[in-house]
C-alpha cells in the first residue's frame, strides 16, 4: 500500500469537491438556514404581534370585571364593555365591528361559571394566551377580594416560584443546567447522524460516478483499488471536516458576538444589569446563556464523527461499487442504513437514563457509538475508560470493515451488468 498514492488521491478528491459551487453554496447556506430556522418562530411571533390589534366586546354579567379587565388590556387588546343584549353583540361581531366578544357569566365570581370567547375566527394561540392570562388574573383577584384575603395572601398567590439548576463538578458549582447540555448532546448526536449520512452518500456517489463513467479502470491500472478507496474516503472525510469546522467557526463567532451586540443595542438597565456592566454580564442578565462546550467534548465529537464517518463510508463505498446508478443502490443500502438509524430511536432513552446499563452498552456498540457516546459525553460525566474503549472498538471495527469493503470494492468496480444481490456481494469478499 502506497501512502503517497493515497495522499495524491485524497488531495484530488478533496480539492475537486471543495472548490465546486455546490460545496461553497452549502457551506454558506446551511448556517444561514439554521439561523433562519431558529429565528423564524420569534420573527413570526413578532410580526403577528405587530399586526394583530384586537377589539373585543365584553358582555359582563357580573358587572364587576369589565373595568379592571379594560385597565389591564395591554397594547394589542382593546376591551369595550357593552350593555347591549348578547344577540346584538353577536351581530356586531359578525358585522366586523368587533373582532370578538368575551362572555363573563354572573356565576363566574362564585367559582362555577366559565368565561367564553366568541369570534368569527379562532384568533390564534397568542390571543388565546393573552385573554386567558388576563381573565384568570382578574377573576382570581376578585375572588380573593370577595373572600377577604389579606394582601399577604394575595401576593403569595400572585408570585411565581422559579427553579434554578446548578451542576456540581470538581470545580464547584457552575451555573446553567443539564437542559442546555441535553440540547447540546442532542444537537451533536443529530449532527453526527446527518454528517455521516450525507458525507457517506457523497462517497457512494463518487464511487458510482467513477464506475459508471468508466474512469475507474484507468485509475486502477495505476493504483491499487484499496488505495483508491482509502484516498476517496479520506478525501471526502477531509472535505466534511473542513465544512464542519467552517460552520463551527461561524457558530463560535456568532455566539461570541451576542454579548457585544447586546451592549450596542441595549442599555444595561433595560436588562436589569448594573450600569457599566460587561458584555458577559449583560448577556447573562438578558438570559442569553450560551453554555461553554468543554474542550474534551469537542475533541470526542470530532473523533467520533471521523470514526463513524470512516466506518459507514467504507460500507457506502462497497455498496456504490456494486451498482451503476444510484437508484439501484436502494435495497443494498438497507443493511447500511439500519445501524445508522437505530441509535436515533434510542436517543430519548439515553437522554432519560444516560447511565443505565443499557445506555452504557449501546454507547459501546461500534455502529451506534458515534451518535450515542457523544450524546452521553455531553449530558453526563462518562468515565474516560468508557469513552476510550468505545472509540477503540469503533476504530477496530472500521479496520475490519474497510478490509472487507476493499475486497468487495475491488470486484465491484469492474463488474457491470445486473445489480448483484447482497449474497453475491458477500461472496465477492472471498474472491482471490
Amino acid at each position: 500500500m502506497s501512502v503517497q498514492k493515497i495522499w495524491l488521491i485524497l488531495r484530488s478528491e478533496f480539492w475537486r469537491r471543495v472548490r465546486s459551487t455546490a460545496f461553497l453554496l452549502a457551506t454558506v447556506l446551511v448556517p444561514i438556514g439554521f439561523v433562519a430556522l431558529g429565528a423564524a418562530p420569534a420573527l413570526f411571533g413578532y410580526l403577528a404581534g405587530q399586526t394583530s390589534q384586537h377589539t373585543i366586546a365584553i358582555v359582563d354579567e357580573t358587572g364587576r370585571l369589565a373595568d379592571s379587565l379594560g385597565a389591564d388590556a395591554g397594547e394589542q387588546l382593546t376591551f369595550r364593555p357593552t350593555d347591549a343584549p348578547e344577540d346584538s353583540v353577536r351581530a356586531a361581531v359578525r358585522a366586523g365591528r368587533y373582532d370578538g366578544y368575551l362572555h363573563l357569566p354572573a356565576s363566574l365570581l362564585g367559582g362555577t361559571g366559565e368565561a367564553t370567547y366568541f369570534s368569527t375566527e379562532g384568533g390564534g394561540l397568542s390571543l388565546r394566551a393573552q385573554l386567558d392570562t388576563r381573565v384568570n388574573g382578574t377573576v382570581r383577584a376578585r375572588r380573593l377580594e370577595a373572600a377577604g384575603a389579606s394582601d399577604t395572601v394575595r401576593s403569595i398567590v400572585g408570585s411565581d416560584v422559579s427553579l434554578a439548576t446548578r451542576k456540581l463538578s470538581a470545580e464547584g458549582t457552575t451555573a446553567d443546567s443539564s437542559l442546555a447540555y441535553t440540547a447540546i448532546g442532542y444537537a451533536m448526536a443529530f449532527i453526527i447522524y446527518l454528517a455521516v449520512l450525507f458525507y457517506g452518500q457523497f462517497v457512494m456517489q463518487g464511487v458510482i460516478e467513477e464506475k459508471s463513467n468508466r474512469v475507474v479502470e484507468i485509475i486502477v491500472s495505476s493504483v491499487r483499488p484499496f488505495e483508491l478507496l482509502m484516498g476517496k474516503v479520506l478525501g471526502i472525510g477531509a472535505m466534511g471536516l473542513a465544512q464542519m469546522l467552517t460552520w463551527a467557526a461561524v457558530g463560535l463567532g456568532g455566539s461570541a458576538a451576542v454579548g457585544p451586540l447586546l451592549v450596542l443595542f441595549f442599555d444595561p438597565s433595560d436588562l436589569g444589569a448594573p450600569e457599566g456592566a460587561s458584555a458577559a454580564a449583560m448577556q447573562e442578565a438578558a438570559g442569553v446563556t450560551i453554555p461553554t462546550i468543554p474542550l474534551d467534548l469537542v475533541v470526542w465529537f470530532l473523533l467520533f464523527f471521523l470514526g463513524g464517518f470512516l466506518l459507514y463510508a467504507a460500507l457506502f463505498a462497497a455498496v456504490g461499487s456494486a451498482v451503476e446508478q444510484q437508484q439501484d443502490a436502494q435495497s443494498l443500502l438497507i443493511p447500511v442504513m439500519t445501524p445508522l438509524i437505530l441509535p436515533i430511536l434510542f436517543l430519548i432513552f439515553v437522554i432519560e437514563a444516560p447511565n443505565a446499563t443499557a445506555s452504557v452498552v449501546l454507547s459501546m456498540v461500534p455502529f451506534f457509538s458515534p451518535i450515542l457516546m457523544v450524546l452521553r459525553a455531553a449530558i453526563t460525566s462518562v468515565p474516560v475508560w468508557q469513552i476510550v474503549v468505545s472509540f477503540a472498538l469503533l476504530i477496530a471495527t472500521f479496520v475490519g470493515t474497510i478490509w472487507v469493503a476493499g475486497r468487495v470494492y475491488r470486484v465491484g468496480i469492474l463488474s457491470y451488468g445486473k445489480t448483484p444481490s447482497l449474497r453475491e456481494i458477500v461472496r465477492w469478499a472471498t474472491y482471490e
Binding site: 502506497s2 463513467n213 468508466r214 479502470e217 484507468i218 485509475i219 491500472s221 483499488p225 461472496r427 482471490e432
Partner: protein, 316 residues
C-alpha cells in the same frame, strides 16, 4: 526493453473459467494483436497484465519479474470502455493521472503540454473535460496512456469513435512507439486494422489461446487456399461450384468473388469453369486467406469443439 510473458495463467470468477491456462509473449518493437470474440477472456487477460486483477494460477512477467505496482508505472493502458473525470480540467486531469503513474507534478505538466501540442489540442488545456466532444475526450485518454513514457502499451479498440484523420494520427503515433522499441498490445475486433498494424497475433476463444504466432506465419499456415476472381458476365458458376462442395464463398459481389477452396479441391477446375462461363476474367489469384476468415474458421472450430464436448469449461 520490456518483454512481457504470460505463463500458464488461469482466472476464475466463481464457477466460470474466464482464462484457462493461457501463455503468450509480447516482444519489444513489435505489435501483438490480441484477438477473440466477446467473452474470449481478452479483457480478463489484459486486467491481469495491468495488475488490476491477479491470476488464480500462473505468472505474468515483465522483464523477467512478476508484475506488480512497480510494473503499473511502466505500463500505459487504454481500456475499451474508458472515461475521464468530467469535472476536471483537461490539463489538470492529465497531470493527476500522470502523478498516479509516478510522475512529479512538474514533469506531468510539461509532458501534458507537449502531447496536447502534438494532438493540436493546446487550447483545450483549461476546458472542463465534460465540455469536450467524444472524439476530443478520446485524444485526452490517449495522451493519458502515453504521458508517463511507458515501455508497455495496451490499446483496447483504440480507433473506435475516431474520425479518419485522427485515426491516422493515432496509427502514426502507435507505429512511432513501435519504432521506439516499445512493446505494444493491440486488442481489436477489426481484422483489417490488425492486419495493417500487427506483427504477431494471439487469438483467444473460450478462455483459451487457439492460435498464435507471427502474422505472416499464421497466414502461411492456412496456405494459399483462397481464390480472388474478378470478372464480367454470368456468375451462376459460383453457385454450381458451391453446390458441388468444391468452394465456400467468403464474399461475393456482381463482379468479384473471394472463394475458399474446400479440402482437396484443386484450383485448376475452378479456373476452367470461370473461363468457360464468364464473358471476361480480369483477375484470378491464389492468396492466403484474410485474417477475418482465419478468425471465423478457428473460432468456429473452437466453438464446435466445445459443443462436441459438453463438459463445462470449469470442470475440464
Amino acid at each position: 526493453m520490456a518483454h512481457l510473458s504470460v505463463e500458464n495463467v488461469t482466472k476464475r470468477y466463481g464457477d466460470t473459467v474466464a482464462v484457462d491456462d493461457v501463455s503468450f509473449e509480447a516482444r519489444p518493437g513489435r505489435i501483438l494483436g490480441l484477438l477473440g470474440p466477446n467473452g474470449a477472456g481478452k479483457t480478463s487477460t489484459i486486467r491481469m497484465i495491468t495488475y488490476i486483477m491477479v491470476p488464480d494460477a500462473g505468472t505474468i512477467r515483465f522483464d523477467g519479474q512478476s508484475v506488480g505496482p512497480w510494473s503499473q508505472q511502466r505500463m500505459g493502458y487504454l481500456p475499451e470502455e474508458r472515461g475521464l473525470y468530467k469535472r476536471l480540467r483537461v490539463k489538470e486531469q492529465l497531470v493527476y493521472l500522470g502523478t498516479l503513474k509516478g510522475l512529479s507534478r512538474a514533469e506531468a505538466a510539461d509532458r501534458a503540454d507537449h502531447w496536447l501540442g502534438r494532438f493540436d489540442a493546446t487550447e483545450w488545456a483549461d476546458l472542463e473535460t465534460k465540455e469536450l466532444s467524444k472524439g476530443m475526450q478520446q485524444k485526452v485518454q490517449f495522451i493519458a496512456t502515453l504521458l508517463h513514457d511507458p515501455s508497455l502499451l495496451i490499446f483496447d479498440e483504440p480507433f473506435s469513435g475516431l474520425d479518419p484523420i485522427n485515426a491516422d494520427l493515432l496509427r502514426d503515433i502507435i507505429l512511432e512507439l513501435r519504432r521506439d522499441d516499445r512493446t505494444i498490445l493491440f486488442a481489436s475486433h477489426r481484422m483489417e486494422q490488425v492486419e495493417q498494424l500487427c506483427d504477431d497475433i494471439c487469438l483467444m476463444a473460450q478462455g483459451d489461446v487457439v492460435l498464435q504466432g507471427p502474422l505472416r506465419e499464421v497466414k502461411e499456415q492456412f496456405g494459399q487456399n483462397t481464390l480472388v476472381l474478378e470478372f464480367d458476365g454470368d456468375d451462376a458458376f459460383i453457385d454450381e461450384l458451391e453446390a458441388e462442395g468444391r468452394v465456400r464463398v467468403h464474399s461475393r459481389s456482381a463482379h468479384r468473388a473471394e472463394l475458399h477452396l474446400t479440402d482437396g479441391t484443386e484450383a485448376r477446375p475452378v479456373l476452367d469453369r470461370a473461363l468457360d462461363r464468364t464473358d471476361a476474367l480480369y483477375r484470378y489469384e491464389r492468396v492466403a486467406p484474410p485474417l477475418n476468415e482465419i478468425f471465423v474458421e478457428v473460432v468456429g472450430e473452437a466453438e464446435a469443439e466445445r459443443l462436441r464436448d459438453p463438459t463445462p469449461a470449469a470442470e475440464r
